[in-house]
Symmetry: C2
Subunit: 330 residues, 2 copies
């Protein structure tokens, strides 16, 4: 572990001079600077990040906190964030859930954070956020000058989807929920039920948890009841996939027997057979917006600009009963 002290010694200068030379600041003679740089090179010196960050109060790094990497969901958001990072001089650190006390531990190891992990409590986020530590949250609604909730406009897409099903004559529509502690699920369900209520429709609700398996299970309990709906809205695509799998096993077809709509537009949804009607957004833009706003805040202290990320319904095979017009493709 060579330190700046070793470098200074070898170059025959003081630690101060070595520091200035290495950072290219202060007034240091060319010859001296060169000698220091050579010493550093020769000793394979790398500054200790902790000592440096302890002294300077900034790390020029933003942290992204997610629960996991899979799920075909985070990837595009991370790419969006990364695309903005590449335009700046910031670093990016992505931290998934871990057993130890990540939340506390990583605090102040980054200058700001983007949070997309329901395992992190609202309370922790509220406590951590400050003018020195702004946070963008992608999965919840929180009120603070230093927190920017950047949420999907769930209502918009759900309304479009409902209109599509209703417009096709579906009147017996069931809803399969996601995890009940999810903000998005709550909003999707509330919107859907409100739309139905507006048309005097009763919507049976089946509990799920966003997993493929829970969609399958919901389908099983519906199919076994014998009383089939003509359409089912699943709170995400994974569950729609599970639902479709169960239908196939029972010799039923979407949309002929039951029209299916999901949410998220995961990459697979387009390629399955039938392709899954779903509600999508540009996740890349979502991530990019989050990163942009966070960095703007850090650089210029400009206050956060709350807004919703637009979503839109993408009709595909799993719910389209008859093609209205030949040119109307999703």
């Amino acid at each position: 572990m060579t330190t700046i002290r070793d470098v200074a010694e070898r170059a025959g200068v003081s630690v101060t001079t070595a520091s200035y030379a290495l950072n290219g600041i202060g007034s240091i003679g060319d010859a001296t600077r060169k000698r220091v740089l050579e010493a550093a090179e020769a000793l394979n010196y790398h500054p200790n990040a902790f000592a440096r960050h302890l002294k300077k109060r900034k790390t020029h790094t933003i942290g992204v906190f997610i629960s996991r990497f899979g799920g075909a969901f985070y990837e595009e958001i991370l790419e969006g964030i990364h695309s903005i990072i590449l335009e700046t001089d910031y670093e990016l650190l992505v931290c998934p859930e871990s057993r130890s006390t990540r939340r506390m531990l990583l605090h102040r190891q980054v200058d700001g954070a983007i949070v997309f992990d329901s395992k992190i409590s609202d309370d922790d986020v509220l406590k951590l956020a400050s003018g020195h530590f702004p946070i963008v949250v992608l999965d919840r609604s929180l009120q603070s000058d230093f927190i920017l909730p950047l949420l999907l406009d769930n209502a918009q897409g759900v309304r479009e989807a409902f209109a599509h099903l209703y417009g096709q004559g579906c009147r017996k529509i069931a809803f399969v929920t996601g995890a009940m502690d999810s903000f998005d699920n709550t909003e999707r369900m509330a919107t859907f039920l409100a739309e139905a209520e507006g048309r005097n429709l009763h919507v049976p609700v089946y509990p799920g948890n966003f997993t493929e398996v829970s969609g399958y299970a919901a389908a099983m309990s519906i199919l076994q009841s014998g009383d089939l709906p003509d359409a089912v809205f699943c709170a995400n695509d994974q569950m729609a996939m599970g639902f479709l799998r169960a239908m196939k096993e029972h010799g039923l077809h979407a949309p002929a027997d039951i029209a299916i709509v999901g949410f998220d537009d995961i990459p697979l949804s387009r390629y399955l057979q039938p392709s899954i009607s779903t509600i999508g957004t540009s996740r890349f833009e979502w991530g990019a917006t989050a990163a942009r706003q966070l960095i703007d805040f850090l650089d210029t202290e400009s206050p956060f600009q709350p807004h919703r990320i637009p979503t839109r319904f993408l009709p595909r095979e799993s719910s389209t009963l008859r093609r209205e017009s030949p040119s109307a493709a999703g």
Copy 2:
């Protein structure tokens, strides 16, 4: 920014006592400990990670360095790594390419690293690695006691693929390369050419760079030459996708006109039409193995166990001319 000094003051104890109490070590009376904990809670105190890590020489964190998040490739590796992390008390930090001096900056911010980013030079990896900083590399071959190269067994899969094509009677086989500075590409190409040579076949080589577009371009130059091969091996699936797109645009079909084989088994390859024959591995296991070995090294100093990650050929529609036996499915 409340510090441990503030906590100590509020609790009416020394900084030392506060530190011991907060860390649950030393001999501190129950009443005192409680007072310290309450003070910390009241002040919303979080230890400064930099000061802590500067003093203790360990961070209990491993870093993963990748070039980007997309490409349908890293996701599963990251999930594999994460799965191991969850079993331990380590933290995980994932760091994609950035404009600033990430390599130096992150050094010592983690206890060990997993590298999968060709933009990081061999030289840097060699210099950084040491008994205090072990590195697992997933994309290159390097010799050091403190570096573990965990590479795909490219040869195995390529040989199987070649045998498959040759066994079907293909004799005029072209190769589309990946990026020339890629270790994997080099190995895939070398194996393929060696296999061909062994059967006295000449293989025309078309340059690509692993992108879908470069596969498309390679196809265009082959198709325009008018002299069609009966099979093409692409060094990865993205290029195979591009190749197939070009074929479709020319009214050609795989495998009837040209049999196509890719490499990587990206999720999409299974769902496209035709589905793409490819060479796959368990990327989840790959990541898990990397994490396991790194953590073993850190915990027990047990030396690295070099080995290759097995790959296997997955015959699908794009290359299977006739089904040999009804039961032989991939």
